[in-house]
Symmetry: C2
Subunit: 215 residues, 2 copies
């Protein structure tokens, strides 16, 4: 089986923004982008990581949330997904947003021009790497040991890998809320139709799932 | 995590039939029920078991096909899913429709009033069991070792477990083809709305996925 590079459960606003640019420690997605509203569909599912009450929906949204870790052996993420610092690393105590049990459970390759030693938290290890997208993908595939690689975002990282022609499948959840500003994934999902097949799947929750696979 | 009893990728005609009654060796679903047409949506996916050409769709239908084995530790099936014989077992050479590599990869509990020794084919073992639905489910859960149990069908078995109130989730794919006769799962998917939440999800392939979870 070929190893795929997959975007999964990547969430954008109705107008195509994945975050706003003024990221801070308090607002990981920036001031215009309220994750409580944008990700509401995901938090409502039984499969949301961290849910412990036994409740939640088990319909379409839940199937897609659960797909997050299936056959995934590594993740690639942009530096701004890992943290809010810019430039050379200053706060070496910063170990990501996710606490002692990050939800990845695999090697994670963080794209940065600034070297830093790897960090292991539970069964997730963050490696800080620079290089061309294809080279980082080759490292991630090797670490994934035959499984697929997740491209975790954010927007700039997804666009960089799309531009390099390296993404095999994308699941993008479009929330029914406009933010009006921020980092834009696309003007329209149709932007990718020249290179990808697309299933547009409206969910009863109000989010519309977009499932792309390479032509 | 509680262990669930799940119906997955169970396929019925537009008029609610899961097979026709005149099952034979040549027509496992009976004469009115052409699997090539009813299951066409599934055969078109990249995840269909046995596909080796590297092609196939990777959209909604594929996500649901791939969900078949996720976190499943055992299956329960009716005798008529296992084979075409009725009454006491006569052809002991019969080992199911699936050849030497059945697609289950777990213990499978076949409901029958007629005892027969267990059969192991590759990593699937078929056990032939009688008893009340709840008792067979308890055995299957124990064998599943903490994972969920799939209820594999056919129609009579699904209805028996629904009537006993033992099914936690159902994914039923309704194909856009009427058969006009056979074993009926329901008059309408709405029959289950008193006991289940329901996401109705049309696929671009023409099949409509119905995702039920217990209220």
């Amino acid at each position: 089986m070929p190893q795929l590079l997959k975007v999964q459960n990547f969430n954008v606003s109705a107008d195509g923004f994945g975050s706003s640019e003024d990221q801070t420690l308090e607002r990981p997605f920036g001031s215009a982008f309220d994750p409580q509203r944008i990700f509401a569909w995901a938090f409502a599912t039984a499969g949301w990581p961290g849910r412990t009450d036994g409740g939640g929906s088990r319909g379409l949204d839940d199937h897609l949330i659960r797909d997050f870790s299936h056959n995934i052996g590594a993740e690639i993420m942009g530096r701004n997904k890992f943290g809010h610092q810019r430039g050379p690393w200053q706060d070496h105590e910063w170990k990501g947003w996710w606490g002692d049990e990050p939800p990845f459970h695999t090697p994670v390759f963080v794209l940065t021009h600034h070297p830093r030693p790897s960090i292991t938290l539970s069964d997730t290890t963050f490696h800080f790497v620079s290089g061309e997208p294809a080279d980082v993908l080759a490292r991630a595939k090797e670490a994934a040991d035959g499984k697929d690689v997740r491209l975790g975002g954010g927007v700039s990282t997804v666009r960089q890998y799309l531009d390099a022609g390296l993404v095999d499948t994308l699941h993008v959840a479009v929330s029914p809320i406009k933010t009006g500003t921020g980092l834009r994934l696309w003007d329209s999902p149709d932007d990718l139709r020249d290179r990808y097949h697309l299933d547009v799947v409206p969910s009863p929750s109000g989010v519309t799932h977009h499932l792309f696979w390479r032509k």
